[in-house]
Symmetry: C2
Subunit: 436 residues, 2 copies
């Protein structure tokens, strides 16, 4: 049995209907493979897992992570967009929900430089004041406004707290191999550096040093994560739609789009997956949302949001379909106990596992929404662990590239992101932007 499998029961389509699109997905498959072999494209992620794990840099990530885990209470990860969402997604998916420190001594990973909010940055400054910390700054150019400002601030704090030698040893730079402001600074100040490959865009970069260093620092076994991705690299390399769940998902979402749906809702029943959904939203939103096209990506956490957006999904405008991440097994469980008085009427559940109740809530919701005109794609995942998260990341990356190709947009650019920046620079009177 497969670790990850797409279930068609509530999609409104049969596999046979889907297979009519076999030729077009085979063409996209060939196109992706061909582009991956050429220079100047952004398909470096396609066959990266199986090769990257053998590199010296991969070893260096593990060594640096060990050092940070030993000498730091906190790792500050400075990055925005693809330079933070992937790491945060994996770290939160594979750790207990954080309420505060526990007995287990772990290095806490805190993300900063992904906004311009003074309160947030001051909250981080106050929090690390009495703690040992390291910095991992992640930026291709080193001049992106949000991370650059945060790095200025926290670099200064670092140099005030530690002597120059130690400060330099506590700064880890993930950037371009050769050029850019951050590379130049790293060379002159002798920071440890890691490379953002030229042919991997930000939102596809979680399985490069961009994501792997923070993930390893958090205590996740990155070998298992990479092994899941390597498994997926092989498994989803089947050119035939019939055998490729990843392509089937890509076709399904385009069929809904062609039939007038304009948003896809990713639903999870596991709160730890909150940031995985945020990562997924960037991946699909930035890859497809262009030329006035694309499905708008939304996420919900059930059953929580069944008492919020659930009403709309059940009975509002019929403009969406749902994709449900369903984990068959949970790491921990709870058995519901009987109660003598049974005032809450829950004794019918006595002896049942909570995971069972959550599963039935999922099944009941899928049928309720499908009956209400919202088709559901269920993605069954055997268990929430590092290996399966690695597979799931690759699954969605490849599905996204395929889906964007089917939509006939470039999956790897993001021209619209520049527009707010240009306006902002003009308002801020940045040299060169005064008269734009």
């Amino acid at each position: 049995m497969s670790n990850i499998q797409v279930n068609f029961n509530f999609t409104g389509y049969t596999l046979e209907e889907l297979l009519q699109h076999t030729d077009v997905t085979t063409d996209v498959h060939k196109e992706l493979e061909m582009e991956a072999r050429e220079d100047g494209n952004f398909l470096g992620w396609l066959h990266l897992p199986s090769t990257y794990i053998k590199t010296e840099e991969y070893k260096k990530i593990k060594e640096s992570a060990e050092k940070i885990r030993k000498d730091s209470d906190v790792l500050l990860v400075i990055g925005i967009g693809g330079s933070y969402l992937g790491a945060r997604a994996v770290i939160e998916a594979l750790h207990p929900t954080y309420f505060g420190p526990t007995d287990k001594k772990e290095t806490q990973v805190i993300f900063v430089g992904n906004n311009l909010a003074p309160n947030y940055i001051n909250d981080v400054i106050n929090y690390v004041a009495d703690k040992d910390f390291s910095i991992n700054v992640i930026s291709k150019s080193g001049t992106t406004t949000e991370p650059a400002i945060a790095f200025r601030i926290f670099k200064e704090i670092m140099y005030q707290k530690y002597d120059i030698k130690e400060a330099r040893e506590r700064i880890y730079v993930t950037t371009d191999a050769k050029k850019g402001a951050l590379k130049k600074l790293a060379d002159s100040d002798k920071y440890t550096t890691f490379v953002i490959p030229d042919n991997v865009g930000g939102r596809f970069s979680v399985l490069t040093p961009v994501g792997l260093l923070p993930i390893a620092v958090s205590g996740v076994n990155i070998d298992e994560l990479m092994n899941g991705a390597i498994y997926a690299e092989e498994k989803y390399n089947d050119s035939l739609l019939q055998y490729n769940d990843c392509y089937q998902y890509a076709v399904l979402r385009n069929l809904y789009y062609d039939n007038g749906k304009n948003m896809e809702i990713l639903a999870t029943y596991e709160p730890r997956m909150h940031y995985f959904a945020e990562w997924w939203k960037q991946l699909f939103g930035e890859s497809e949302g262009k030329e006035n096209k694309g499905l708008f990506p939304v996420s919900v956490e059930f059953t929580t949001d069944l008492h919020s957006l659930g009403q709309y999904i059940q009975e509002g405008q019929r403009i969406m379909f749902e994709t449900v991440l369903n984990f068959a097994k949970t790491e921990t469980d709870i058995t519901i106990r009987p109660d003598e008085d049974n005032l809450d009427n829950l004794n019918y559940l006595a002896g049942k596992k909570l995971s069972y109740v959550n599963q039935k809530a999922m099944e009941g919701t899928v049928t309720a929404h499908a009956d209400g005109g919202v088709p559901n794609i269920i993605i069954n995942i055997r268990e929430l662990n590092a290996k399966n998260i690695g597979e799931l990341i690759y699954f969605f990356e490849k599905a996204c590239a395929t889906s964007a190709k089917l939509l006939e947009v470039d999956p790897f650019n993001q021209p619209g992101v520049e527009k707010y920046k240009t306006n902002m620079f003009k308002l801020l009177k940045k040299p060169g932007y005064e008269d734009k």
Copy 2:
């Protein structure tokens, strides 16, 4: 100058165009006032702030909050939907972003019973194991599955940890005045009780004991919060559209809806407002998402999400408008320092406040999105504090009721929420549901 004010500059409409809808909003105004005077309606929230603050129960909330703040490290708030989102929204808006304990000794408010996820509940169990805690369980009936299961679990832990007298004193019940499972239990076990008014629905209940007790425990000054709401109750009681920003917002969103927009994106530039946006999503989604109608509510946090959903908003399908919460002043600030080397090219910002940069990012984004075909309603708020959050809550509650009336749906029911429950109960073989 007003604390809260709707800015029309990027809406695509002028005030004059809006004022053509004066008669219809005046009618809705009269209808809401009339319904509020009749029994059996859900308009209790309309004139509640000014009367509730004078009650004995309001005093009792403050007394209970003081006791909990003295004897508890953690308050577990057990509730789902409207029984948790309002409190969480206000608490997170008015506190530093939480990374872990600080020197300031505060009672930590943790929300549970809003999902069926075993990992989450076990994470809470482990976290409170070595801490003194109290429980505030919030449920009209006492039999809603998610909170009822959580209350069974944590009540048992409470009775194991403390002797029966102390355990009973640590449980606070917010429920119906007379009937229901929770009321019955509270009476027999002598728990402290607070009343959920019959004429206030869950999503309109944050300024009742439902929200006020947890909010007071967190250390927020609830007098200020209520004073903001009382001010709003007076200010937004003007029947004339011309003078009522709340009605103007309601009309604007319906104009967009009538012109084919099908989602509203609430954008904030302050991470502390994350759960406020979640509260807003329930308020509007449940009130309007019915009869195949309504705007789907979405939220984004900028500038973070400008590097995620920003691309789609700028260039994807033109199906949305944005409502921007703009705080003119931040609690704290940071001055950007000059750097000798200036490798990051940030010296043009040296001496500038970060709040200024964030403000210019907002202005640049609003014009970029408006130019790209996404109209923007800016809601200017003078400052993020308890009083203004109180006003903003009332502003959105009244705007929501008005907007739903303009859309010709019942703002106060949520028939669709039952459907997943019925299916789930059938699958779980709950007595009475076996053959539904």
